[in-house]
C-alpha cells in the first residue's frame, strides 16, 4: 500500500466513520461509503490540507471513488 493510499484512507475513515475494509479502490464516497455531497467537499478540503495541494473544482468533481482520490493525489504530488 502506498503512502498516499494510507493517508487518504485514514482521512476517509475518520471523516466518514466507515470501516477501513470498506475503503477499497472502487468504493464510491457517495454510493458505497455513505457520504453526502457536502462530505465530498469536505474530503477534498481535507486532502488539500494533508497533501499541501490545491484541487480545483472541476478536478474535485471527477473524484468520485477512493481510487480516484488516490490517483489524482499521486499524480499531483512529488
Amino acid at each position: 500500500m502506498s503512502d498516499v493510499e494510507k493517508r487518504v484512507r485514514k482521512i476517509v475513515v475518520e471523516h466518514l466513520g466507515v470501516e477501513e475494509e470498506k475503503v477499497v479502490e472502487s468504493a464510491s464516497f457517495i454510493d458505497d461509503l455513505g457520504a453526502d455531497s457536502l462530505d465530498t467537499v469536505e474530503l477534498v478540503m481535507a486532502f488539500e490540507e494533508e497533501f499541501g495541494i490545491e484541487i480545483p473544482d472541476d478536478a474535485a468533481e471527477t473524484i468520485q471513488t477512493f481510487g480516484d482520490a488516490v490517483s489524482f493525489i499521486s499524480q499531483n504530488t512529488d
Binding site: 457536502l38 467537499v41 469536505e42 478540503m45
Partner: protein
C-alpha cells in the same frame, strides 16, 4: 449576556452607522473584530476607539480581486473568521423605467455578489471548525419593495434566498446563516432624506420613530451568539413594526 470571547468577526461596511454599531456590539461581547470598508479614516477611528482586538481591513467590494483577498487578510490578522457580517451596501436609486444597467449592476455587485463571494471564502474555516455564523444585513425593502429601489430591493431579497439555501447546506456542520432586515434607521444613508420624506416614512412606522444602529447591532449580536445555534435560515425584521412578515 452573549459571550463571543475567542471568536473573530469580519464586518463589511464597518465605516457606516449600522456596521460601526455592529462592530461595537460584537467587540463589546468579547469578539475580535475585522473592520472592513472603503474609507480608511473612519475605520481607523473606530479601531482606535475599540482598542485591543480590532483590525482595519480596507476593501472596495466592487473590486473582485479585493473581495477575494479580504477573507485571507482577515484570517491572517485575526487567525480565523468565525462570524461574517455582510453589512456593506450601496444605493443607486432610480425609477425602474429609467434605471441604467450600470445602476443595476453596481448595486447587485456590492450588495449581493460580494456577499456570496465573501461567504464562500469564509465557509471553509467555519466548516472545519464546525462552528460559524453568516449574518447578512437585508432590508425591509427586500421584503416589501420600495419605489425607486428596484435594484436595492432585488439585491436585498437576493440575500434572503441565498441565506436560506446556504442554511440548508451547512446546518449539519454547526454553521448558521441568517438575515437581519432593518427598517428605517438613523444613519448617513437615511440622513439624506428630506424632512417631508422622513415624516411620511414615520407615518408608516407603528413605533413612531426611526431605529438606532444599536438596535440592529443587538439583533446581529444575538444571531452571532452560541445561544442562537438553532436559529438558521431566518430573517429577523427590526423595523418598529413598519412591515410585519
Amino acid at each position: 449576556m452573549f459571550d463571543l470571547t475567542g471568536k473573530s468577526a469580519l464586518i463589511t461596511g464597518a465605516s457606516g452607522g449600522i456596521g460601526g454599531g455592529i462592530a461595537k456590539a460584537l467587540h463589546g461581547a468579547g469578539a475580535t473584530v475585522g473592520l472592513s470598508g472603503t474609507r480608511t479614516e473612519p475605520l481607523e477611528a473606530l479601531a482606535a476607539e475599540l482598542g485591543e482586538r480590532a483590525f482595519v481591513l480596507p476593501c472596495n467590494l466592487s473590486d473582485r480581486d479585493a473581495v477575494a483577498a479580504l477573507p485571507k487578510q482577515a484570517a491572517e490578522a485575526m487567525g480565523a473568521v468565525d462570524i461574517l457580517v455582510n453589512n456593506a451596501g450601496i444605493t443607486r436609486d432610480n425609477l425602474f423605467m429609467r434605471m441604467s444597467d450600470e445602476e443595476w449592476d453596481s448595486v447587485l455587485e456590492v450588495n449581493l455578489t460580494s456577499s456570496m463571494r465573501l461567504t464562500k471564502a469564509c465557509l471553509r474555516g467555519m466548516m472545519k471548525a464546525r462552528w460559524g455564523r453568516i449574518i447578512s444585513i437585508g432590508s425591509v425593502v427586500g421584503a416589501a419593495g420600495n419605489p425607486g429601489q428596484g435594484n436595492y430591493a432585488a439585491a436585498k431579497a437576493g440575500l434572503v434566498g441565498m441565506t436560506k439555501s446556504l442554511a440548508y447546506e451547512v446546518a449539519s456542520r454547526g454553521v448558521t446563516a441568517n438575515v437581519v432586515a432593518p427598517g428605517f434607521i438613523t444613519t448617513a444613508m437615511t440622513d439624506k432624506l428630506t424632512d417631508d420624506q422622513k415624516s411620511a416614512i414615520l407615518g408608516q412606522v407603528p413605533a413612531g420613530r426611526m431605529g438606532e444602529p444599536e438596535e440592529i447591532a443587538a439583533a446581529v449580536l444575538y444571531l452571532a451568539s452560541p445561544e442562537a445555534g438553532y436559529v438558521t435560515g431566518a430573517t429577523l425584521h427590526v423595523n418598529g413594526g413598519m412591515a410585519m412578515f
